[in-house]
C-alpha cells in the first residue's frame, strides 16, 4: 500500500552546547519519510535525540542543517496542524478539564463556532463528569488524555507525542494505548510516538524507528506487519520484541539503555 508522504526529513543535523561547553551531536544525518495516516514510533535509549527529532517536526526547535518538509513545505515554527503532547503533564493548571480542551480552539480564535466539539472530545476520551475539575484533581492518565484531546480538537494532520505514557502505571498505560489506537482509527491522523517502551512501540505502530546515541542517528527502521489488534503474548510479537531489544543493545553498546520491560 503506497501512501502520500507527509514528512520528509533530509540530512538533518542538530548540535547542542552542553553545560561543560562541549558540543553534543543530538542528531546526525537524519533521513526519514513519514507517510500520511501512519502510526510510527521512535524508540531508543536516552540521549539518542528522539525528543529533539520530535521537537523539530513540531517546529519547537530548529535544525542546524538539512530540511524538514511537511507536504513539500518547510516547517516554520509550531502550528496547530501538528498537535504535540508533552512528556509531563502540560495542562494549564488554572483551567478546568473542559477549558483546557477548549483552549485548543480558543488559542486559534475559533472557539465560538466549534463550541460543541469540546463535549464531544470529553466523551471521546471518556472523561464525562470531570468537566469542571482542575488538572491537579485528576490522575496522570486522565491528564494525558486531556492533553491528547486538546491537541486533537484542532484536527491536526499529525499528532506528535513525546513519551506521553512514560509516567503512567502499567494498567493505565495499556488502557491509554487502546484509546490511542481507537482515536487513530477514527480520525485518520498521522501518529508519531516517541517512547522507550518496546512493547508500546510494537503494540501500536506500523513502523518502528530505532535510534542510537552519540551521535543521535537512526540505526534501523522496522516494518511491523503483525495484524491489529495485536496480542502482546503471541509468539510473533515476542520474537519481534526480542529482536528489537537486541538491536537496541547493539545500538547502545557503550552505554546500558534505560528501558525496562
Amino acid at each position: 500500500m503506497s501512501r502520500e508522504i507527509l514528512f520528509e526529513i533530509k540530512d538533518v543535523n542538530r548540535t547542542y552546547v552542553d553545560t561543560n561547553d562541549s558540543t553534543v551531536e543530538a542528531l546526525k544525518n537524519i533521513n526519514l519519510s513519514i507517510k500520511k495516516g501512519e502510526f510510527i514510533s521512535i524508540i531508543g535509549p536516552s540521549g539518542c535525540g528522539k525528543t529533539t527529532l520530535l521537537r523539530l517536526l513540531a517546529g519547537l526547535d530548529v535544525q542546524e542543517s538539512g530540511t524538514i518538509l511537511l507536504e513539500g513545505e518547510e516547517i516554520k515554527g509550531p502550528h496547530p496542524a501538528r498537535g504535540y503532547v508533552f512528556q509531563q503533564s502540560s495542562l494549564f493548571p488554572w483551567l478546568t478539564v473542559e477549558k483546557n480542551i477548549a483552549s485548543g480552539l480558543k488559542a486559534r480564535g475559533v472557539y465560538k463556532q466549534n463550541k460543541e466539539e469540546v463535549s464531544q472530545y470529553i466523551k471521546l476520551i471518556g472523561l464525562n463528569g470531570f468537566e469542571k475539575t482542575y488538572p491537579h484533581q485528576i490522575s496522570g492518565g486522565m491528564a494525558q488524555r486531556v492533553a491528547i484531546a486538546r491537541a486533537l480538537i484542532n484536527h491536526p494532520v499529525a499528532l506528535l507525542m513525546d513519551e506521553p505514557m512514560g509516567a503512567l502505571d502499567a494498567f493505565t498505560r495499556a488502557d491509554l494505548q487502546d484509546k490511542l489506537l481507537e482515536l487513530w482509527k477514527e480520525n485518520d491522523t498521522t501518529m508519531i510516538l516517541v517512547t522507550h517502551d518496546v512493547d508500546e512501540a510494537l503494540y501500536l505502530s506500523d513502523r518502528v524507528v530505532i535510534m542510537s546515541p552519540r551521535p543521535g542517528k537512526i540505526s534501523e527502521v522496522l516494518n511491523v506487519t503483525l495484524p491489529k489488534p495485536r496480542q502482546r503474548s503471541s509468539t510473533d510479537f515476542t520474537a519481534m520484541r526480542n529482536s528489537i531489544l537486541e538491536k537496541l543493545h547493539l545500538a547502545s553498546e557503550i552505554q546500558q539503555p534505560e528501558y525496562t520491560i
Binding site: G59, P78, H79, S90, F92, W94, A107, Y134, N154
Partner: protein, 329 residues
C-alpha cells in the same frame, strides 16, 4: 456535639458583653464626670452610657445571629466555637475598662477615655465622622484602583519585554524603596488639588509591590506553557493574556495584598499632612483639641473599614485563584 452544649458555649461567647452592660448599669459612678445627653430626633435622646449599652447589645445580637448561622455547618461551627473564649475575655476587658476609665476615672485623662466616652464622639458628630470616612474611602478607592491597574500594567510590560525590563526595572527598584509620603511636597505643588496629590502618593506606593511581583510572575512562566500554546496555534496576545497573566495571578495577588497595607499607611499619613478631610485629618484635628476620645473613635472606624476592605480583596482573590485550592497549602 449536642445542641445544649452549643447553646451553652454560645451563651459564654456573649456573657462577657452582658457583664459589661451590667457593670455599666449597676456599678456606682464614683468619679464626678458629666454624662451628656444628645438628642437623636425631636422625641428621643440618648446619654453616652445608653448609647454604649446599645452598642454592646448590638454586638451580643450579632454574635447570637452568628451562632445560629454557624450551627448548621460543621466548619463554621468549629470556627465560631474557637472564638468563644476570646470574645468572652474581650467582653470582660471592656467591662474592666468601663470601670477604670469611666466609673472610677483611674486612667490618665484625657489620653485614655472610657468606652462610653468614645461612643460619645459618634453621638456628638457622627455625621462629621461619616463624611470623613467617605472622604478616606473615596481617596483609597481611586488611589488604590489606579495604583493596582498601573502596577499590573507596567509589571506585565517589564515581565514580557526585555527592553522595558532594562529601562524601567531600575527605576522601579529605586522608587520602590522610597516611602511614598516623601513625595508629598512635590505632589502638593504639582497636582491641582490636595485630593489628587494624595491619590498620586497612594498610586506610587501601590504601584511598586504590584508591578514588582507581576513582573516576576510573568517572567517565571514555565516555557512549556508557551510551547503548548504555540502548538495549539496561539499568537502573542493569547500567550500574554491566557498563559502569562493567569500564571502570574497568584503573585499579582500577593503584590495587591502588600500594596493594600502600604496604601492604608500612605492614606492616613497623607491625610494627616495636608488633606481637607478624611480619618487621618479627623485624628489630627481632634488631637489639637486634646479630644483623644475622638482619636480612638477614628481608629475604631479605620480598623473596621480596613478589615472590611481586606475581606473584600481576600474574597476576590479566593474566587480568582480557586484553581489553586488543594494545590497549595
Amino acid at each position: 456535639m449536642s445542641i445544649i452544649k452549643y447553646i451553652e458555649l454560645s451563651a459564654v461567647s456573649v456573657a462577657g458583653f452582658l457583664a459589661a452592660i451590667f457593670v455599666n448599669l449597676f456599678f456606682k459612678q464614683v468619679a464626678e464626670i458629666e454624662i451628656n445627653t444628645y438628642p437623636i430626633n425631636s422625641s428621643v435622646s440618648l446619654t453616652a452610657d445608653q448609647a454604649y449599652r446599645f452598642v454592646l447589645l448590638g454586638l451580643i445580637l450579632i454574635y447570637i445571629a452568628a451562632a445560629v448561622y454557624s450551627y448548621r455547618n460543621e466548619e463554621r461551627r468549629k470556627k465560631f466555637l474557637s472564638r468563644v473564649p476570646f470574645r468572652f475575655v474581650i467582653g470582660l476587658t471592656v467591662a474592666l475598662w468601663d470601670i477604670l476609665g469611666t466609673k472610677l476615672l483611674l486612667l490618665p485623662q484625657p489620653f485614655f477615655p472610657g468606652p462610653s466616652r468614645i461612643i460619645e464622639s459618634f453621638l456628638m458628630e457622627g455625621d462629621y465622622i461619616f463624611q470623613n470616612t467617605l472622604y478616606s474611602l473615596r481617596l483609597f478607592t481611586v488611589g488604590f484602583t489606579l495604583g493596582v491597574a498601573f502596577g499590573v500594567g507596567t509589571g506585565i510590560l517589564i515581565g514580557w519585554f526585555p527592553k522595558v525590563y532594562y529601562w524601567i526595572y531600575p527605576v522601579l527598584k529605586i522608587t520602590g524603596v522610597i516611602p511614598a509620603v516623601a513625595w508629598m511636597p512635590f505632589a502638593l505643588t504639582l497636582l491641582p488639588t490636595p485630593f489628587w496629590a494624595a491619590v498620586f502618593l497612594i498610586v506610587i506606593c501601590a504601584w511598586f509591590p504590584v508591578a514588582f511581583l507581576t513582573a516576576q510572575g510573568i517572567a517565571s512562566t514555565p516555557k512549556i506553557h508557551f510551547e503548548v500554546a504555540g502548538t495549539l496555534g496561539a499568537k502573542t496576545p493569547y500567550l500574554v493574556l491566557h498563559v502569562a497573566i493567569p500564571h502570574a495571578m497568584p503573585q499579582i495577588f500577593t503584590g495587591i495584598s502588600s500594596a493594600n497595607g502600604f496604601a492604608f499607611t500612605t492614606l492616613v499619613m497623607s491625610e494627616m499632612l495636608g488633606q481637607p478631610g478624611g480619618l487621618g485629618y479627623y485624628i489630627n484635628a481632634s488631637k489639637v483639641w486634646s479630644a483623644y476620645y475622638k482619636v480612638f473613635a477614628a481608629i475604631i472606624v479605620m480598623a473596621v473599614l480596613f478589615s472590611a476592605i481586606m475581606k473584600v480583596i481576600g474574597a476576590i482573590q479566593n474566587r480568582v485563584l480557586r484553581w489553586q485550592r488543594g494545590l497549595v497549602k
